[in-house]
């Protein structure tokens, strides 16, 4: 029953605040209610009113009304602390199972809005406190442990504030579209056969790598190693490019899903993941065969990422 009510409630919430990467908090999606302490404060107001009535004391009346209007203003300030805040999920990261999925947000406050003591709470995660100055863009990174492979969404998070007196809580539930990509955990697995390429080939390839000819420049992409960035070019033109080398080594190795002797799908994907990283470290060309697709042989960071992404989504 409770679960059902919860479900209907959150369906209603979801209708009011649809999943989107860009959110502006307004009275549509900001909820406001007294906290437990706020309830106690209302009790105090009633007690004061009773005292004023029974002792016919004008000053106690006055005092009661003063505190009462403070309570009302505390609602306004609490709401104002949250309303108008602009949130966007700017980027998510890519990581391995067991690491942390990071969701980077940009928060932008209105020109006259100081947001104090905002609390981000992701279920089962420590709460994150943020203060934002007026017209400021602040970066907040929320993390959840990556427990499974594939696209992992942050889920519904709550953003709340009890500023200024802790008597009122304003909060909002937020769900975002962008998902983090989680690769399988690299595990060393046994491969039944070694074909096409021998260890010697790899050794040779590594040896000659240093003498590679610069084959060209390509656009920088997330994940490229900093030591391959064309810094000289960056200094003169201000654009990021990555140097590409024409590997001398022509030896190609195929990593095949069906080569592993043991393990279910997830385990095998983990083995594959390990071997992709291993092959990349050795610097050779390699291709990958996995359920549902093939990655043509290539080398370099881009290629590694392509393989890992394929594994994550396999």
């Amino acid at each position: 029953m409770k679960a059902l009510m919860r479900k209907t409630f959150f369906q209603w919430v979801a209708r009011r605040s649809p999943v989107s990467d860009i959110k502006t908090l307004t009275q549509r999606n900001v909820y406001i209610f007294p906290t437990k302490e706020g309830g106690l404060f209302v009790g105090l107001l009633l007690l004061l009113l009773l005292t004023a009535i029974n002792y016919q004391s004008s000053l106690v009346y006055l005092f009661t009304f003063l505190l009462g209007s403070l309570f009302v203003f505390s609602i306004i300030f609490c709401f104002k602390n949250l309303s108008g805040l602009h949130l966007s999920l700017v980027a998510t990261n890519e990581c391995f199972v067991g690491e942390e999925a990071v969701y980077s947000f940009a928060l932008k406050s209105k020109p006259n809005q100081y947001c104090e003591s905002l609390f981000f709470s992701v279920p089962n995660q420590p709460i994150k406190k943020v203060d934002i100055s007026a017209s400021e863009v602040a970066a907040v990174a929320l993390t959840i442990p990556a427990t499974h492979r594939g696209l992992v969404s942050l889920g519904r998070i709550r953003l709340e504030t009890v500023y200024p007196l802790g008597l009122i809580r304003a909060w909002t539930w937020l769900a975002f579209e962008k998902q983090a990509l989680v690769f399988p955990t690299p595990l060393k697995g046994d491969r039944s056969l070694v074909e096409a390429s021998s260890g010697d080939d790899f050794e040779e390839g590594v040896k000659v790598k240093g003498e590679d000819e610069l084959s060209g420049l390509r656009d920088y992409a997330l994940g490229d190693s900093p030591n391959r960035i064309a810094w000289k070019h960056y200094a003169s033109k201000g654009e990021l490019y990555v140097k590409e080398f024409d590997g001398v080594s022509s030896s190609t190795c195929w990593l095949n899903y069906s080569d592993y002797t043991s393990g279910n799908k997830e385990q095998r994907l983990s083995y594959l993941c390990h071997d992709v990283l291993d092959s990349h470290r050795k610097g050779g060309r390699f291709g990958m065969v996995f359920p549902g697709g093939v990655v043509e042989p290539s080398s370099g960071d881009n290629h590694k990422m392509q393989c890992l992404r394929a594994l994550a989504l396999a």
């Binding site: 302490e37 106690l40 404060f41 105090l44 007690l47 004061l48 009773l50 005292t51 009535i53 029974n54 002792y55 016919q56 004391s57 004008s58 000053l59 106690v60 009346y61 006055l62 005092f63 009661t64 009304f65 003063l66 505190l67 009462g68 209007s69 403070l70 009302v72 203003f73 306004i76 300030f77 709401f79 104002k80 309303s83 602009h86 966007s88 700017v90 940009a106 932008k108 020109p111 006259n112 100081y114 947001c115 104090e116 003591s117 609390f119 709470s121 709460i127 406190k129 203060d131 934002i132 100055s133 007026a134 017209s135 863009v137 009890v162 500023y163 200024p164 007196l165 802790g166 008597l167």
Partner: protein, 691 residues
């Protein structure tokens, strides 16, 4: 929701908590018993020690022990009382004990709430303007504890804070005033005894030599009077309090016993309309007594007082809060210097019982005085003549008015009349009645106040404790009761100008009271400030403290016609609703952005107007990047777009030497923005139309 709750109190909040504790407790310490006050301070100091890290937190055993000791001591002290004071003392004790334990942020709330309640409790003891100011400030200090728990780490510019606070005050003050004015005042749900057990200064129901002299050293206010018309001459202002008609040794006592005690509250005053007839309204300070003070020949004009059988104004219950009452008076009676409980009626003879009461004397003692009267009686004077003779005797003999009379030994009246001849009103009035009674003339000592100080700024009269006075009323068959003041024979200054003038040479005016500002009345500035402060307090009492159901009704019905409970509630709800909405508008959705950079604002206006046609500036996109992107989409406006972003950079980042004229540039930026947005919109319309 575990975050801010089971965390320890931040140090700045704890500091605020200790300040709030002292601020709220300080005025209460005078109302609770000494041990409680002292131990509360000790506990607070211990807590300061813990805060500073000099002491460890007490363990559970120590805390339990402390609680048991406190409860036992509390029971011993207060077991026989049940009053507001007991309740307040209990709160003081619990808050003090709780202080030692407060450790987590969640403990703060309850603690602060009890402090707030204690702030309000102080109003049951004192209702002056200063008290209100103090208590409300203390409440804000207590609330600042909660604020410091939730405050962020931002450093907000002072200008922003000032604007915020100003706006808040501008919205909050009218709201509070409106609710205060319109909130329906409900009758008490149940009656709680408000006995505060506090000692009050004022006239008591007995007078022994020296008692009034003590009172004359107090500059405390007895009451204030507002006359409907002109204030009568000072020499006519005899504020009759009570009659002392029973002499025992040399102490005069009142034999009046008020059997009648009414239920009901003094605050619910219903005042009568006294159109045409001169009247005065008295605002009396708490005396914890039933008697009220009034001029001779006054008649009751408010519901909280009545005229006693003997013709004195009496309250229906003890005065424990500043209370207002109204009387009407007859100018003729006042001027005639004569009075009776009901002058219009023909003079009624005294009954045998009354005769006996007003002739009562100890059977022996004071032989010298007795001989003196006996000799006088032999002259065969009429009663009036005899009284006049005694009065002139005081004038002609070398009597001296002093607040420091020499001690008398043995027979008081003999000593005073024939050897020392130095004394003040109580001596003169007492002796005169003694002698009149010896001569068989019914008479009584009247105590009350005489004169008063006029507050020119507000036009009301202030009567102080040092205006306490004693005089005599004598019964003559033809005229009824007549007032005689022997003091006026000795020291006319006392009656005409007040005590300060009368004892000027002696220098005893408020001599025991070095800090009383009344003592420095001679200094013009002190006097001005004293009167100003008093008039603030008076208006405070009149308009805020005294704003009860009756006043509310009278005040509001002047404009709104007949107001009922229901209409009041409706008015309040509507007014409150409007004001809260207004508060939301002013505080929440304010479009004014004075505090922000004008240049940034200008550019943001541009962005937001483009947002309406579906072009959005991405988060983190610089103005230049944005306009470059726009050029791609609206190539016709390249020049204007570039100009706009250039303006932004010039205004924001240009060095001092080639900084353009900011005002004109900002103005042209604004114009550019407007035309640009209009052009873009128009172009869009034109391109859309054919399609």
């Amino acid at each position: 929701m575990q975050h801010s709750h089971d965390s320890l109190i931040p140090r700045n909040a704890l500091f605020a908590l200790l300040v709030a504790f002292f601020a709220v407790m300080l005025p209460h310490y005078s109302n609770v018993s000494a041990w409680l006050a002292i131990s509360s301070v000790v506990i607070a100091l211990l807590r300061v020690g813990i805060y500073k890290g000099w002491l460890p937190y007490p363990n559970a055993r120590a805390k339990t022990l402390l609680v048991f000791i406190a409860i036992a001591a509390f029971y011993m002290t207060y077991r026989h009382q049940f009053s507001v004071e007991t309740a307040v003392a209990f709160f003081v004790m619990s808050v003090s004990l709780k202080l030692i334990e407060v450790k987590f942020a969640k403990d703060c709330y309850l603690f602060v709430f009890i402090l707030l309640y204690l702030c309000a409790c102080q109003f049951l003891f004192s209702q002056t303007f200063i008290t209100a100011l103090y208590q409300i400030s203390a409440a804000f200090v207590a609330l600042s504890v909660l604020f410091s728990l939730h405050k962020g780490t931002l450093t907000i510019p002072r200008k922003v804070r000032v604007i915020e606070v100003t706006k808040l005050i501008m919205v909050a003050v009218p709201l509070v005033i409106a609710i205060f004015m319109f909130f329906p005042r409900i009758a008490p749900l149940w009656s709680i005894p408000l006995s505060t057990g506090k000692a009050y200064t004022g006239i008591s129901d007995s007078m022994s030599p020296g008692q009034i002299a003590e009172l004359t050293q107090s500059s405390a206010r007895a009451f204030r009077v507002e006359f409907s018309g002109e204030i009568p001459a000072k020499s006519e202002l005899y504020w009759r309090g009570l009659a002392l008609d029973f002499l025992e040794g040399d102490t005069w006592r009142s034999s009046e016993y008020l059997a009648r005690s009414f239920m009901g509250r003094l605050n619910e005053v219903r005042t009568d309309d006294t159109e045409g007839q001169p009247s005065y309204t008295v605002l009396i300070e708490p005396t914890d007594k039933k008697w009220a003070y009034g001029l001779a020949g006054s008649e009751v004009a408010s519901s909280n007082i009545f005229m006693s059988e003997r013709g004195y104004v009496r309250f229906k219950s003890n005065v424990i809060q500043p209370t207002r009452y109204k009387l009407s008076y007859d100018l003729g009676v006042l001027a005639l210097n004569q009075q009776s409980s009901n002058t219009e009626a023909p003079v009624r003879a005294l009954s045998a019982k009354e005769m006996k009461r007003y002739l009562q004397l100890p059977s022996t003692g004071n032989p010298q005085t007795r001989a003196f009267i006996k000799a006088l009686l032999a002259k065969d004077l009429s009663q009036v003549e005899l009284t006049e003779y005694l009065m002139s005797y005081f004038r002609e003999q070398p009597f001296h008015y002093t607040l420091r009379p020499p001690r008398t030994s043995g027979a008081f009246f003999d000593d005073f009349m024939f050897s020392t001849q130095r004394g003040f009103c109580a001596h003169y009035a007492g002796s005169l009645v003694y002698m009149l009674r010896l001569a068989g003339i019914p008479s009584r000592v009247l105590v009350g106040y005489q004169g008063g100080e006029i507050n020119e700024q507000e036009g009301y009269l202030m009567v102080h404790q040092y205006d306490a006075h004693a005089w005599v009323e004598v019964w003559h068959e033809s005229t009824g009761w007549l007032r005689y003041d022997p003091t006026a024979m000795v020291a006319p200054d006392r009656i005409e100008q007040g005590l300060e003038e009368a004892v000027r040479d002696e220098g005893t005016f408020l001599s025991d009271n070095a800090f009383s500002s009344a003592r420095y009345n001679r200094i013009e500035l002190v006097r001005w400030m004293r009167l100003r402060l008093d008039s603030i307090n008076y208006n405070w009492q009149k308009w805020v403290v005294g704003y009860d159901g009756q006043t509310q009704y009278k005040f509001l019905s002047r404009w709104l016609g007949d107001v009922s409970f229901k209409s009041l509630a409706l008015i309040m709800a509507v007014l409150g609703g409007v004001m809260v909405t207004l508060a939301f508008v002013v505080l929440g959705y304010s479009k004014k952005r004075r505090t922000v950079d004008k240049v940034v604002l200008e550019f943001e206006r541009f962005c937001s107007s483009l947002e309406k046609i579906g072009v959005k500036r991405a988060v983190g996109e610089t103005p230049k990047q944005f306009t470059n992107r726009l050029v791609g989409r609206f190539p016709h406006h390249k020049k204007s777009l570039d100009y706009l972003s250039d303006c932004f950079y010039w205004l924001q980042y240009a060095c001092d030497e080639n900084k353009p004229d900011e005002v004109s540039l900002l103005k042209s930026m604004k114009e550019k923005r407007k035309t640009l947005v209009r052009d873009i919109k128009n172009r869009r319309l034109r391109t859309q139309k054919p399609a």
